[in-house]
Amino acid sequence: MGKHVLLVEDEINIIEAIQFLLSREGWQVDTHSDGATAVDTVRRMRPNLVVLDYMLPGKNGIDILTELRADPDFQNLPVLMLTARGQSRDRELAERAGVSRFMTKPFSNTEVMTAVRDLVQLAQ
């Protein structure tokens, strides 16, 4: 499995922190902040992993994930969803949409990196 991640998040400082962490572990990191065009960006970039925020301008993470899972090319794409919405209903919605891992803010760097490593391992 390659090490190309697409980070879809609109909080600029979270982007910088996660980008730094992933880059340090050898990941090629691309970022995207607009929910409306996120699916197109995934199709174009074809990353090995997507870190996806739940709440995005233009389109929310659940809808993005649902669209991705409807595409045979991305049914098995590892997707780590980050959210400030920790309610069980949100988790259930994410799981129904096909999320690979669901993580609530505020998360630790260790949690993020462990999740990324786990998802990579599962995908191999």
Binding site: I14, A17, F20, P57, Q87, K105, P106, N109
Partner: protein, 435 residues
């Protein structure tokens, strides 16, 4: 055991509480100690004059002995027993318990009521947390900012090889985020304290002014009749903690003075009674602008009118809340509000019937108009200020030949799907689908 069958028990408890010996009480009321003993062990029925004599000797009302603890106390104890999942046989002994240990019974019932009150408070706050859009937006802001700070701070603490450029950038990020977190936390705490009925400092000068105006119910009769001054009212207002809020409040009050000079409240009420809330007719009658009249109408006690004033950038400069018509506390309001439609046409007055996406589909009539604000400068576009008066339309018919515009409070807290005016997703679950 029947309630009246415990009269003897109550006599015994009351006598013991008063430190009176059984033989002394028997002597006082003229019966033998052995007979009083039988009464106290509920082996002899008691009533009539003897009960009155015992009550007098114990300095209590006869009903305290004959009826025992109040029904409410018994009910509270039984509820407490059910909550504790005690068997029925224990629950049925609540009255006996109350009769034998009145002090403990009161304490237990009070604790049970307190628990119930606290649970209701928790339930209310939980409900707000789950459904209140303002609160949900605040929580989201706090958590997102906390996530950013936590992640960035961990990098700085753990990575000793980080370059100077990255370190500087992360320090700047933490600085910015910590300020943002401080502001959003204050706003959140202020919101929660307001909900629980406690006075608390607000998160921003605008919030302080809003609390100040709410405390005065948006009316300043003493200011209008000249018996008080803006400076004095501002100085005495506990809600106005910051210098900025005092400045903003003074500006609002000075406008009240100016507005009321041309449209006195008494005359306005009289005209309102004749013509109804026709803003144009009323403005013409008093020879003032329509926004001026809207501000005065919003101050009429009992009219139940909301008011929003915004500048051309969309910032809300003034807000008077109205039940069912949510005006966002932070950020931009719904772009479909008539308030924003008049920005490009100063002088034009529009009236639009609107519906908010509330459970009961509340309907309102909105009057909106814009006018220049500030001094007129040659060859420079005027600064504009738009004003919108919001009047509730109770029991509005669904289809009465009047077009109703669907609007919302603000995109972030609006559940409407498929809205052409949406500029960001809603944090309300129903609002995700249509985006």
């Amino acid at each position: 055991m029947a309630r009246d069958a415990l009269t003897g028990t109550r006599i015994r408890e009351r006598r013991a509480m008063g430190g009176l010996k059984q033989s002394d009480l028997a002597r006082q009321i003229g019966i033998s100690a052995s007979y009083l003993n039988l009464i106290e062990h509920n082996r002899r029925r008691i009533g009539g004059k003897l009960l009155l004599d015992i009550a007098a000797a114990l300095s209590v009302e006869p009903t305290v002995l004959s009826e025992g603890a109040e029904a409410a106390l018994i009910a509270s104890l039984q509820e407490a027993a059910q909550r504790a999942r005690l068997p029925d046989v224990e629950s049925e002994r609540a009255e006996e318990f109350a009769g034998r240990f009145p002090g403990w019974a009161d304490a237990l019932a009070a604790a049970h009521r307190k628990i119930a009150d606290l649970e209701r408070t928790v339930e209310t706050l939980s409900d707000r947390l789950a459904h209140d859009p303002e609160l949900a937006a605040s929580v989201h802001e706090v958590l997102s900012t906390a996530a950013s700070i936590r992640s960035t701070a961990s990098i700085l603490a753990e990575d000793k090889t980080i370059t100077d450029d990255w370190r500087d950038r992360f320090h700047a990020n933490i600085d910015a985020d910590s300020r943002r977190l401080a502001d959003s936390s204050k706003a959140l705490v202020g919101f929660l304290d307001t909900e629980t009925g406690e006075a608390a400092p607000s998160g921003s000068p605008q919030e302080e002014v809003a609390q100040f105006l709410e405390a005065h119910d948006y009316g300043f009769a003493a200011l209008e009749d000249g018996s008080d001054t803006p400076d004095h009212i501002v100085a005495e207002a506990p809600q106005l903690v910051s210098a900025q809020s005092r400045h903003l409040a003074r500006t609002v009050l000075e406008r009240v003075v100016a507005d009321s000079a041309q449209v006195p409240m008494k005359a306005l009420k009289s005209a309102l009674a004749e013509a109804g809330p026709d803003v144009i007719a009323l403005a013409n009658r008093f020879s003032v602008t329509v926004p001026h009249m809207m501000r005065r109408l919003a101050a009429v006690p009992g009219l139940d009118a909301g008011l929003v004033v915004a500048d051309r950038a969309g910032s809300l400069l003034f807000r008077k809340d109205l039940a069912g018509f949510t005006i966002p506390r932070h950020g931009a309001a719904c772009p479909l509000w008539p308030l924003f439609q008049v920005m490009g046409q100063a002088g034009q007055v529009i009236r639009t019937r609107v519906q908010m996406p509330t459970r009961d589909g509340a309907v309102f009539d909105c009057f909106a108009a814009a006018e220049p604000a500030g001094p007129i400068v040659l060859n420079a576009p005027p600064l504009l200020e738009a004003t919108m008066l919001v009047l509730p339309v109770p029991d509005a018919p669904v289809d009465a030949g009047v077009a109703v515009q669907d609007i919302g409070p603000a995109c972030r807290i609006c559940p409407r799907g498929g809205c052409p005016g949406r500029r960001e997703p809603s944090i309300l679950s129903d609002g995700f689908g249509g985006f």
